[in-house]
Symmetry: C2
Subunit: 216 residues, 2 copies
């Protein structure tokens, strides 16, 4: 069976979101580079894979997908085992809690945290644009409120969706990994349960292996 | 069996997102008002349901949920029948296509369309704030590009995820409904397949019933 293909760079947080679940599953995959300098992301071949011209795109035989969270869920379903059932779709209540905290990641957590990653790392390093400290300060204010909610949640359960590791937890990896490389990573020290949760994610062999290919 | 409870107002697009799926299922539900003027959304009772103090929140017996797309998926799973299988989780490829276009709604379609709804309707009517035409113009530019992709997609399939109505289509209802009430609703006239798709959603009895409670 041909390995599945991921189009994009491991360095991109949204590509890494897909790779997390492939690495966790120990799946065989091929990472296919998309050359942004050569505008390959706007080429007919790539637009056929992702009509919005973004990364990642994904291919498994005839099935072609895009949107990182959708691709990551496909991977989690495809490689699901009794031991690694990250979406818990067999149980309506558990699946709902996984969905709740997956949506929180997209609309609340990363909405607060990712602007800090862009302003402190991605814009300066990739585009030579200085950090806008006003954006960083506003985002840090929002992020503190989010982390208070996470601290409370993780005082009741080992993981976000309950006492089981799920898609929701691992889905937080890419942006949080880069946040830790900004000057504001120490913010997590003020939230001991969040810090312990993050360390438990970082200690996973699949995450260790993937992070080594993402160093900012 | 006690009816499920939705906390919030039908007028809120994110509350309506949940109600769409309850109405489609013909489910018995209770809509519980949350009084924002009385700061009820920041009350301990509501924060126990939604720690971010937003609407909707949802209760089904002991299960308490928030995040509109997560709640809507729970409803779609709970009331799933052979005829109304909106998430298609029994088929990995179909489920993935539903996820792709559900994610597109959140991160691309509504990201372009909802600022127009806020600027033209919600801010002026609810907060007495004038429309920022610059935001509207930028968003219309983005939305045109998104609708081009939708037009192409709907030239190949009857619905977004394939030739079957899914969660992804119905999930577009709340913001699009309000967009049609802005001065820019006629934009859809330039995209005949998108227009026909939208009309097929609007013609559904459940959507007709719900829209009557949402009139801006």
């Amino acid at each position: 069976m041909a390995p599945v293909k991921v189009f994009g760079q491991a360095m991109s947080p949204n590509v890494a979101r897909v790779l997390v679940f492939l690495e966790e599953a120990g799946a065989d995959y091929e990472l296919v580079d998309v050359d942004f300098q050569a505008k390959e992301h706007k080429s007919p071949d790539h637009l056929a894979r992702n009509p919005f011209g973004q990364i990642p795109a994904f291919q498994d035989g005839d099935l072609v997908l895009f949107e990182s969270r959708a691709v990551a869920k496909y991977v989690a379903r495809k490689y699901k085992t009794d031991e690694a059932d990250l979406l818990r779709e067999g149980d309506h209540s558990e699946a709902a809690m996984v969905d709740v905290w997956t949506e929180v990641e997209a609309h609340t957590y990363s909405a607060a945290l990712s602007p800090i990653v862009y302003e402190c790392l991605i814009f300066p390093l990739m585009h030579g644009k200085p950090t806008d400290e006003k954006v960083v300060d506003e985002s840090l204010g929002k992020l503190r409120k989010v982390l208070e909610v996470y601290e409370e949640r993780l005082s009741k359960h080992r993981y976000l969706a309950g006492d089981f590791l799920s898609f929701a937890d691992l889905n937080h990896f890419p942006y949080t990994f880069y946040f830790m490389a900004t000057p504001h990573g120490a913010l997590f020290e003020s939230y001991p349960r969040v810090k312990a949760w993050w360390e438990s994610i970082m200690s996973r062999p699949a995450i260790q292996k993937l992070s080594a290919t993402m160093t900012p």
